[in-house]
Point group: C2
């Protein structure tokens, strides 16, 4: 990896930290240049436009998400242990990737949902891929006999994502001291329901 | 209600519709003036600042939420029927209050979480109040014998809110044709778990 690529990644990680606080919409190349004490023209040479910067931020975040969340979880045995490991790493994600204002994907989902374009298209693809990873991990838990055969893996993935979204809401907006405890309870409730013989 | 108050409410509802698409952060008094073909100075006379406008938008939205969601649900019998009615009205909320870009509270939650000030303070209070309404409705279902005595009403409210957040994610970002079906399933799963004898 050349020096240029390292610089680009370092810039993107600072940009993500900033966007996690002010939002993707609030992040202009001018503001980023000011924050990093770099020249605006230099940043334009790297990213070209605000929208390309948004795309680059999402791409870099997804690469890091694979490295920090998915790869470590793959070391856990297939089935419920792997699902549990995914959920635990996922909960730590804003800390692991230094996003002081919370998850960039949660922010982008709300900010971009009504804004057609390459950044939104990329985000939708990333979110579907992630739901697929979750559903396929649930499928693994069925194959291993940890979960009942009639559990709906897509519904489980959907519900688990809901548990994560309300966790973020409770943590970042409400500053609820019970946010962590509630997230763990929500996960355990989903797992217990999927295990329970009918 | 005087003409001035009616005008103010009409302006706030247009402002909310606009903010639901461009975000609260993207909504300036200038942009609103342009959209409504009103004078910028007139709007300043009504609202004073962007932040007061945000506060007024949230206040008006909460009033309408009570009228459109909570009041009709109170007509249902206490307990599970009332909880069900709340959830059904809540799902329709973006349509009932004409928010073409989705729920203003969901957008504001992500936009304001890192921005201290009166708008954030108000939103936090509104969100806690709403979680209290949900929890107290669940408590009613326990009293009526619809739900088990050991159900945790706050956890249920939290999980139900999670189901609503992922519903919005699936609907507005992913445009998932199964979003509605999954939301209903998530609700039924929560209710079934709360009913099941242990």
């Amino acid at each position: 990896m050349g020096k240029g690529e390292l610089t680009r990644q370092a810039i993107l990680e600072k940009a993500t930290a900033l966007a996690s606080a002010v939002g993707l919409g609030g992040l202009t190349i001018g503001k980023l240049a000011e924050e990093l004490e770099l020249s605006k023209s230099g940043l334009f040479a790297h990213f070209g436009s605000k929208e390309s910067l948004q795309v680059a931020i999402l791409e870099r975040a997804a690469d890091r998400f694979v490295e920090l969340i998915i790869r470590p979880a793959l070391r856990a045995p297939r089935g419920e242990p792997r699902l549990r490991s995914l959920f635990e790493h996922w909960r730590q994600w804003p800390k692991l990737y230094s996003m002081p204002g919370g998850c960039i994907f949660v922010a982008a989902s709300v900010e971009l949902d009504g804004q057609p374009g390459p950044a939104r298209d990329l985000l939708v693809k990333q979110q579907r891929d992630w739901l697929d990873v979750l559903a396929s991990t649930v499928r693994g838990a069925i194959t291993e006999g940890h979960f009942r055969k009639d559990v709906d893996p897509e519904q489980f993935a959907h519900d688990l994502y809901g548990a994560m979204l309300i966790y973020h809401h409770a943590l970042w907006l409400l500053r609820d001291p019970k946010a962590e405890k509630r997230a763990v309870r929500a996960f355990e409730n989903l797992v217990e329901a999927a295990r329970r013989p009918q």
